[in-house]
Amino acid sequence: MEKKGLSPIIATLILVSVAVVLAVIIFIWARGFMTDQTLKFDRPIQNVCEDIQFSAEARLDNGELLVSVVNEASVPLYGVEVRKKSFASIEPLNDGAKQFSGSLNEGSDEEVSIDAGSEVESGDELLVVPIIVGESGNIKKSFTCDTGEEISVI
């Protein structure tokens, strides 16, 4: 009998290759829809927020709100977001998210300046919320914690 067509080995190889290529295409396509969890210290970053301890003070100086922060725990702080508390809202100031000059490590302190304009007056209640940095895959992402330090403007 005359032999025609592909050998079983070649046919199997082609089938396997097609299946692998399809699987890779579907994996790459589906990966775009999955939101990678942001991690810090190999933990979900929102859990790391519980370990943060810091103290803060706020004072007004010629329309500028100066917020000084002292990091009292081992989680480095990347920045802070300042929110104003009122009876019906707790909202970030327009210029409220500020980055420190570098990571603020345990025992370090830094003062950030916020252009508060007429948004803040002496005696107002503020919520200072820490911002930390984690990694999602190879991408660094900042994360604003849910809770923070309540202070009054001096």
């Binding site: 775009g32 809202s89 707790i90 909202e91 970030p92 992402k141 900042s142």
Partner: protein, 172 residues
């Protein structure tokens, strides 16, 4: 043997032309069509849980002629870091739709609108909280609605089908 059918050269040329035509059709029509539909089916996903009812500020309750709702807005990255190509921004939503339900009826309110506004705001201000913020709203109604659901309205006007959050309303 009689030669019949098309010559191998013509057959090859036809096959190549058909392949090129198929490629053009796929790149021009099929890929954009699939992309559009994929985008539509996934554009709401990042906003699941983005707007939530919050327990602070003593809200999510009804009293005589009024309902108070407290909404917390999530936030994405506040400070610029290395970002992916499809960075999602807080500006990608235009507002929210709140569905209030009782045993017999359901109504929908939109933020912003003149139906629901920030509590005690002098000019009946109606807007979403700033990213990361919490705001208490009030709306006038004679019905004691006992359930509220909140839906995200995207910047293209689409109201996401799945609620971002829901809560039972209790007497104040």
């Amino acid at each position: 043997m009689n030669k019949r059918g098309i010559s191998p050269i013509v057959a090859s040329v036809m096959l190549i032309l058909i392949t090129i035509a198929a490629g053009l059709i796929i790149t021009q029509f099929v890929i954009p069509f699939v992309k559009n539909n994929l985008n539509r089916s996934t554009e709401c996903l990042p906003f699941r849980g983005y707007l939530k009812f919050d327990e602070s500020l003593e809200g999510n309750c009804y009293t005589e002629g009024k309902i108070f709702i407290v909404i917390k807005r999530g936030n994405f990255e506040k400070l610029s870091l290395e970002q992916g190509d499809k960075a999602i921004k807080d500006a990608d939503i235009a507002g929210a739709q709140i569905a209030l339900s009782s045993a017999s009826e359901t109504i929908s309110l939109k933020i912003p609108s003149n139906e629901i506004f920030i509590k005690d705001s002098t000019s009946k201000e109606s807007r979403l909280p700033a990213a990361g913020g919490i705001v208490k709203y009030e709306t006038a109604t004679n019905t004691n609605y006992n359930k509220a659901q909140i839906y995200v309205i995207l910047s293209n006007g689409r109201v996401c089908e799945s609620p971002s959050d829901e809560i039972s309303l209790t007497p104040c």
